[in-house]
Amino acid sequence: MKHTGRYGDFGGYYVPEVLIPALEEIEKAFYHFKDDAVFKEELESLRADYLGRETPLYFAKRFSEYVGYKVYLKREDLVHGGAHKGNNTLGQGLLAKYMGKTKLIAETGAGQHGLATSMIGALFDFDTKIFMGSVDVARQSVNVHKMKLCGASVVPVSAGSGTLKDAINDALRYWCSNLSDTFYLFGTAAGPHPFPEIVRYFQTVIGIEARKQILVKENRLPDMIVACVGGGSNAIGLFSGFLEDESVKIVGVEAGGKGIDTTHHCATLTKGRVGVFHGAKGYLLQDEVGQVFESESISAGLDYPGVGPEHSYLKASGRAEYVPANDEEVLDAFEILIKTEGIIPALESSHALAYLISMRGKLDPNTVVVANLSGRGDKDVGIVEEHRPLK
């Protein structure tokens, strides 16, 4: 490897020897093509015409009135596919194409990354295989159907808990055996180097746009930026645009699930200890001896017992603050945004909104906050209905 992939002491590439040549190949290609004029031009063009960028930075007037300070929403829910995931899958898919790979594999939890990968698989005519926990296959049948419509095959993973981490385990195993023609399109800014760096690179467009837009609209930097954190890709996308702006407070909101004092949550940075998992050193939900926990949350997209290494670093260095929001607060936030703005947010993104609501009346009315509305919530309407049936 040319680089260590470290964020402080976090990150790295803790993988079996057999994967090293594959990671080296991706690292080399990434550093080459990210500065290649043809690659950049095609990426820019597809970002605009396929994904629909740039996305608006929307002043949420009625929601702002509700919380008592100024809230701008970065509308990643309007990206083609319905979430920020497309930023990454387009970028990595293009990289795979330029590398001459013919097959894509990806893991997925709720199916959003699987769908965003399948979409790109169709766009570039890849043979696409999505690894998905068998439990998730059963509870996300609509997304499974959409992936298949895109021409992808969906591999149910029943080993272990049958959820996201098991899907990643099996995708890594499959990749070990099929390195020559297969590109592993990793879904979040976690895993071994160079994945955290690549995913950050393709998601940083969120923060770059948001910084430019807020300077136009408010003629100043925001006081605070907020995003939900599972693996952490939408958050690092937004945060990366503001890391050097010391006056900007950075808040990541984790899934508190049924409460962080229960075992039913995925508040990795709030409750985890540093360990080594899925190729990287970072905070991790684990038992006393180091066996990794199953995580749990109302939003499958945040349901991951690890977290991206840069978030571990930002927590340890104090640059960012990470707080949990529990399921009930998230459902409240989901309802309040719809009622005040007519926007259905993803339950993942509703974690960021829940934090904003927790600060209701506590901030100066002139406070300016940018929150990442990372995805739309159409996929979650059924889950919300289960928890809070309409009267």
């Binding site: 079996p16 057999v18 098991d166 195993r173 080594v276 998992f277 001896v289 180091g290």
Partner: protein
């Protein structure tokens, strides 16, 4: 405590190295299995501590990990188990483990406790040669030998660096992939054995997909010094969970089959 060098020097044919997950399906049965393997002619033991997310292992070993975890195996209990084994017989023991378990136990303490239990080497499946400095001092302080993996796609430059840091034996992975039984030995293995033999005098042992006695003969004929047999044996455990006598008898028969083939080649 017998070292790898003493053991390999004493062998007239290839080394037979069975692999088991400690505590599969439970600690007592697992101990009976390991004793059986020693009595059936194992020269060295490769043992694993079960982990929740074994990414280098195929489905057979993963299921063994789950059985062992369900039976309550922890790293501390695994070390006690190793002590019981070395008290039964002075045999070299290599450990195959995932990094997080050692990291949480405390790297220095783990290596010292493992050495005190009579173990020889700790191979960390998800710690590649670039990062071995994280554990090097602890391994040296505990007086342990080193075993590292080489795979068919390892570059010459990395291979040099790996063999230079290996004192026990080179764990030679026969396939591009994870552990598991296979019908044929991969055609990638012979060229890899040749590369290793040209690069080092340290014994070269081949694992991943050594499922039949003929596979063992083939890789030993190609110049290897030993074979590691894992999934083939662990599968016998899986298939005989309700009949432990048969489980142990079949493991004994299978290992004797390997032993005879190796000795008569």
């Amino acid at each position: 405590m017998i070292t790898y060098k003493q053991k390999f020097d004493s062998l007239s044919s290839g080394a037979l190295i069975p692999f088991f997950v400690i505590g599969d399906p439970d600690l007592d049965t697992s101990f009976e299995i390991v004793k059986t393997a020693i009595d059936a002619g194992a020269d060295v033991l490769e043992l694993g501590i079960p982990f929740s997310d074994p990414i280098a292992d195929g489905p057979t070993i993963q299921k063994a990990d789950i059985r062992a975890l369900d039976s309550g195996v922890t790293p501390a209990k695994a070390l006690e188990f190793i002590k019981r084994v070395t008290e039964y017989k002075d045999i070299p023991i290599g450990l195959l483990v995932y990094y997080n378990l050692i990291y949480q136990y405390g790297i220095e303490k783990f290596m010292l406790d493992f050495a005190a239990a009579g173990g020889n080497s700790v191979l960390i499946a998800d710690l590649c040669i670039d990062d071995v400095d994280e554990v090097k001092a602890a391994i040296e302080a505990a007086g342990l030998e080193t075993v590292h993996m080489v795979t068919p796609n390892t570059s010459d430059e990395r291979l040099e660096s790996i063999v230079e840091k290996t004192s026990g034996f080179v764990y030679t992975v026969a396939v591009l992939g994870v552990t598991g039984s296979r019908d044929e030995v991969s055609d990638l293995v012979n060229p890899l054995i040749k590369r290793l033999k040209a690069a080092t005098k340290t014994p070269v042992c081949v694992g991943f997909g050594i499922s039949k006695p003929q596979h063992a003969v083939d890789v030993l004929d190609a110049g290897a010094d030993g074979v590691i047999v894992g999934s083939r044996l662990v599968k016998i455990i899986e298939e005989n969970l309700d009949d432990k006598e048969k489980m142990i008898a079949e493991i004994s028969t299978a290992l004797k089959g390997f032993r005879d083939a190796i000795d008569n080649r």
